[in-house]
Subunit: 396 residues, 2 copies
């Protein structure tokens, strides 16, 4: 690739997202030390030429195995970030990097395992959505009980203004996304592959629908395929992005438990939905519930737990941002919300002259920011004088 | 009744158990202050005559309402403890009072609500059995899932040397007792009525079987009928008698939750078996599990919790009592256990020349005391040199 072009941070991160496997903490440390352009520069110079500040022959990445460095270098050399950035742009998506307004800052909790960047498709603002999001995860080979429960929670969470995050897999993941979509709710799919080449194939349509109505997100550049380790490392992004993770069904030693343990390490809420003790698919969940995870049985209980955060409480009482600081697209939708509500999404979309999906995405942003409230199936402006107490009955 | 006879503590308590409703803390305070004979004496003299230490006309029970005292007095006057004691003796039972060797001392934790006495039928020693007992409680109108799970736990607990205590009601209680009996296990039914007039009628046979193979216990004298408040107050005895209470199925605001809350107040372990979140009969259990109760899914997990007690740990390594301090009946059974085991209960019974039921009852006592171990379906002598570590894997 063309070296002078690497001076651009976004292009360097796009290249690194192809060179480095997700969650590689070695790479994360060098990235932290040298910055994206410096790290990539160093990587591309070590084929014999001397990178800045070293003499020829010095090990440019002391402490990191040569094999790992060789793999980074091979893939960095083959990377074509301009092509990847053009691909995501052609798809109507974007490549987010730390420092972007839309970058979800809670990912910084992953420290050296923080994604190098995020490839994103969909009309909503990832940062805003992630602020009020919950992960619903669980077994691929779930039972009808698990699928029903996932769908039920995923329908209930958006009604309370919460975004459903999952991994677009078969089973619980799919039921969660579908439940949210069916409730006209906001949902985010975090993939273990390129966002242009969704996996699994049987969820093509579902993932396309999420691209239109929600957000599809991944660390891997276009045309990347999933691998077992990528699935596992994808889970840390789901855990870090959300306020808490709910496991619905999981066998002992299931991959979903990895997500929950990651969430616990990150200080996120961990929750589990109980099931029959006779079901092997609830055994992993019960194991979690015998530890630190909280038992939840409906969306109310999830929201009671994850909603208990100082910085979000004000949104219940009114906007925290001045209206004129809103991004133009969001401000445009806000103007289309009638003074007297509740008003269905479709009516607001018609008034704004845009699509229901884009309208809904912006309404969720506006909700997160405290400008609108959801009531039943419609939306209304938050009353500035409203002081409904945010007190819920505690557990038994 | 004949006053001089009241000098006998047991007869006084038998009379009081008819005069006073279970769990009456007013009566408990007077009983504590004056002793059983003194309390009864005072009660029977206050129809105008002057009890010892008071002048005529003084209120003998200051702070206790006249209506309550009048009810005690009416029923004490009608009581015939000699007849009641003869009835229980004719049934092969006994009336236990505090101070008896067989009195389960953990009932003292109930303080002023401690039972005045316990009417008991069955071949085993209540104190010894109660030391290693767990309550399994739950809904009368349980689901097949609940009945299955109760039966399963009740089969598993005796295999680990634990006694199953329940209330002989329909539903979970019945399934628990039946499970224990089916495993040739030890089980105790705590009734809310006289032990001679079992309730419910549909459990006549079951309760008779428990009388033969286990223990049937109640606070109420012969020929007493259950009332709603007696059911509720019976639950505190179940809670106090056992090391912990497991709720298997319970709706919101169910009576079983009373037992668990009583257990928690008494510092006993409280446990719940999860079920589908779609089942109203698991909702009460899940409510508990969202509080302090521990989630358990099998007998192992129950034993792991309740077995964590210093004073019982030695029983895993060998007897704590010298063999010659054993009661003659227990010593006789111990002599019938072959040096090389395991040996089925029926073989030991034949060697001892007694019934399998009596043999089993004594074997459980001997197990509690550390003299014998259960292995598979048989019994063997505890090896004095055995030092199997009593360490179990902790929770996740």
């Amino acid at each position: 690739m063309n070296l002078p072009a690497l001076l651009d941070e976004r292009r360097a991160r796009a290249a690194l997202s192809r060179a480095v496997e997700p969650g590689d903490e070695h790479a994360g440390r060098w990235l932290h030390r040298y910055g994206a352009t410096g790290f990539l520069d160093r990587l591309l110079h070590t084929d014999g030429t001397s990178p800045p500040g070293t003499s020829a022959g010095d090990d440019p990445f002391p402490g990191t195995g040569h094999k790992r460095v060789a793999s980074w270098r091979l893939r960095a050399t083959a990377a074509d970030p301009d092509r990847d950035l053009a691909t995501i742009q052609d798809l109507g998506g974007r490549f987010l990097i730390p420092g972007d307004t839309e970058w979800p800052r809670q990912l910084d909790d992953l420290e050296d395992a923080r994604p190098i960047g995020l490839w994103v498709r969909g009309p909503a603002d990832l940062r805003t959505w992630a602020l009020r999001s919950v992960a619903l995860v669980g077994a691929r080979a779930c039972t009808p009980y698990g699928a029903h429960t996932a769908g039920d929670l995923a329908t209930g969470l958006p009604r309370k203004g919460w975004v459903v995050v999952s991994g677009a897999a078969y089973g619980i993941d799919g039921a969660a996304h579908r439940g949210a979509l069916a409730a006209d709710g906001a949902t985010v799919a975090v993939l273990a592959c390129g966002v242009d080449s969704p996996y699994p194939r049987g969820h093509d349509q579902l993932i396309r629908r999420i691209t239109e109505q929600g957000l599809v997100v991944g660390e891997l550049p276009p045309d990347s395929h999933p691998t077992p380790s990528r699935f596992i490392l994808r889970n840390r992004v789901i855990a870090a992005l959300t306020r808490g993770t709910v496991v619905i069904e999981a066998q002992h030693r299931s991959g979903s438990l990895v997500t929950v343990r990651a969430a616990a390490r990150l200080g996120r809420h961990t929750m589990g939905v109980p099931g029959p003790v006779t079901s092997a698919l609830s055994a992993g969940v019960h194991e979690l519930l015998r530890g630190e995870a909280a038992l939840v049985t409906d969306a109310d209980e999830i929201v009671e737990l994850v909603g208990d955060m100082g910085q979000l409480a004000p949104t219940r009482r009114g906007p925290v941002l001045p209206r004129d600081l809103l991004a133009p697209a969001a401000a445009h939708i806000l103007e289309a919300v009638p003074a007297r509500g509740p008003t269905p999404t479709t009516v607001i979309a018609r008034r704004a002259g845009t699509t229901p999906d884009e309208t809904l995405a912006k309404l969720y942003e506006l909700h997160s920011l405290g400008f609108v409230e959801r009531r039943g199936e419609g939306w209304e402006l938050t009353r500035p004088s409203a002081s409904t107490p945010n007190v819920r009955r505690g557990g038994p």
